[in-house]
């Protein structure tokens, strides 16, 4: 990824050691270790119920009241993108983007962030006036306006239609190349993971089962033979036998 050029390769953004989380008697994460370098884009795959979201919420510090143990070391400045855009319906788009920001340049930075996601001119719109894809773009702008060192995204494109999702992939890739946050993207879509990530981590049984570096040039295409090889190997690890085509 472009972050390698910054000379920050050695810097670690995230360190998780021996993370355990349980809901009642059901153990979801069981001694999980994970590291993410600064600027590295990691996609987190796993079957439904494998603890993807639990891990993300642990990193985001949103799992108060969940019993568990382990060490979680994340940058102070991190942002979360949820599956739903989660915009405050009673605040206009720009106010949603700069929510929680202080300083006199907050508005200007919010406008710049909106322009970056292609929504310049919609600052005064209500969230309900935007399409689902546009709302999710506002959420991205809100997440990136504070220049986070870590971006946590919980299936952010899961609710979007296929075309919009492809466009969002491009946008996310662009934004990450520009801002270099470390990214943890939770997804159930193997193609999405291979398209976007520098590394794909697959959870199974509460631990990291596969940790696969994706060594493909950008932009990536589903037609590249290596792409298909990565895809097939990941699908097999997920217990799916890939069919031809």
């Amino acid at each position: 990824m472009a972050a390698h050029a910054g000379g920050l390769t050695a810097t670690r953004a995230v360190r998780v050691q021996g993370l355990a989380r349980a809901f009642g008697t059901r153990t979801v994460l069981n001694g999980l270790d994970l590291e993410i370098r600064a600027g590295e884009f990691v996609a987190l795959l796993g079957r439904s119920g494998s603890g993807k979201s639990t891990l993300l919420r642990a990193l985001a510090g949103l799992d108060r009241g969940v019993s568990g143990a382990g060490l979680v070391d994340v940058p102070e400045n991190s942002s979360v993108v949820f599956q739903d855009a989660r915009l405050l319906p009673w605040q206009r788009v720009l106010d949603n983007v700069v929510l929680g920001m202080s300083g006199s340049d907050a508005d200007a930075r919010g406008r710049a962030a909106l322009a970056e996601v292609g929504l310049a001119g919609r600052e005064r719109a209500w969230p309900s006036e935007l399409s689902g894809g546009e709302q999710q773009r506002v959420a991205l702008a809100r997440a990136l306006v504070s220049e986070p060192h870590l971006l946590l995204a919980d299936e952010p494109f899961g609710a979007l239609d296929a075309l919009t999702r492809l466009r969002m992939h491009e946008l996310l890739r662009e934004l990450c190349d520009r801002h270099h946050p470390a990214v943890l993207l939770v997804t159930h879509d193997v193609d999405e993971a291979v398209t976007l990530a520098d590394r794909v981590v697959l959870l199974d049984d509460g631990r990291v089962a596969v940790d696969l570096a994706i060594d493909l040039p950008n932009p990536r295409s589903h037609r590249q033979p290596q792409f298909l090889a990565y895809r097939e190997s990941l699908l097999r690890s997920l217990g799916v036998t890939p069919t031809e085509g």
Binding site: S79, L88, P89, P127
Partner: protein, 279 residues
């Protein structure tokens, strides 16, 4: 409005099946001056009844008699003086009740301890009509203005509390989580998420509160009062002046209608982000 509802099923049966219009489930576009229709119909019936002689003037004075009486009362200055006194009482009680109700709702809605301490007594108070507290309030505060304002405030405070508290508690937990994810300071969380989220509830409570204020006003002004619209009406009762009583009633009605309209206006402006069934 009624006509279209009644006619539609009939046309459905006649029309060619291919061109059947899809039935509209929402109430349709808002009518212009829709809120005025009902009162105007009522006024028309009253006028017709009086003109035709169906209504005895001792039972219900004619609208035009009421207008003349109102004009006389204004010329004497009695109407304005009493109205100002009444409006002051209601306004003061409303202000006090709304402030206390909102504060208590915030404390009780945002903290478990606050709720544990405050919610129970308020639910008990809610079961006791504030009018029933008047004897006790008279013993405590006398029959002066304090008693009147406090009685009104007590009637106002309950609906404001109930609806604001409910509004607070029904704020989507996803927004709370968003606030945590963005590490919002408590003051920003309160201003950007809690207060706007509870605003629809608060405004609904305010609509009830405004009506409750006038209601309590009527009661307190007919007890040991020497001023106000209620006193004017009570005096008129002793002299058998139906027209003055009706002037008072119309005034109460107008005040209630106007203040409710004002709250609804604020509601529309403040909640313009909402898309609802009524849009």
């Amino acid at each position: 409005m009624t006509a279209s509802v009644l006619v539609r099923p009939r046309t459905k049966a006649d029309a060619a099946p291919a061109r059947k219009a899809r039935r509209r489930l929402g109430p349709g576009r808002p009518l212009r001056f829709g809120a005025a229709v009902g009162p105007l119909v009522l006024l028309a019936l009253w006028s017709i009844g009086s003109a035709a002689g169906w209504l005895d003037s001792r039972t219900l004075s004619a609208p035009w008699t009421v207008v003349t009486t109102a004009r006389n009362l204004i010329a004497e200055g009695r109407l304005q003086d009493n109205l100002i006194v009444s409006a002051q009482r209601a306004g003061l009680g409303l202000l006090l009740g709304v402030l206390v109700g909102t504060m208590v709702a915030l404390v009780s809605g945002l903290s478990r301890w606050g709720e544990a301490i405050l919610d129970g007594p308020i639910q008990i108070k809610r079961a006791v009509p504030s009018v029933a507290l008047i004897p006790l309030l008279i013993l405590w505060l006398g029959i002066g203005e304090e008693m009147k304002v406090i009685t009104i405030a007590l009637g106002v405070f309950v609906p404001v509390y109930i609806h604001t508290h409910n509004g607070l508690r029904t704020i989507d937990s996803r927004y709370v989580e968003l606030g945590e994810a963005l590490r919002l300071r408590p003051a920003v969380f309160l201003r950007r998420i809690v207060l706007p989220g509870a605003l629809p509830g608060f405004l609904l409570g305010l609509r009830f509160a405004v009506v409750a204020a006038w209601l309590s006003l009527v009661v307190v002004e007919q007890i040991n009062s020497t001023s106000g619209i209620g006193y004017m009406m009570e005096l008129a009762r002793q002299y058998g002046q139906t027209d003055v009583i009706i002037v008072g009633l119309v005034l109460y009605g107008l005040l209630g209608l106007l203040s409710d309209g004002a709250v609804r206006f604020v509601q529309r402006r403040a909640l313009s982000w909402r898309r609802t069934l009524a849009d």
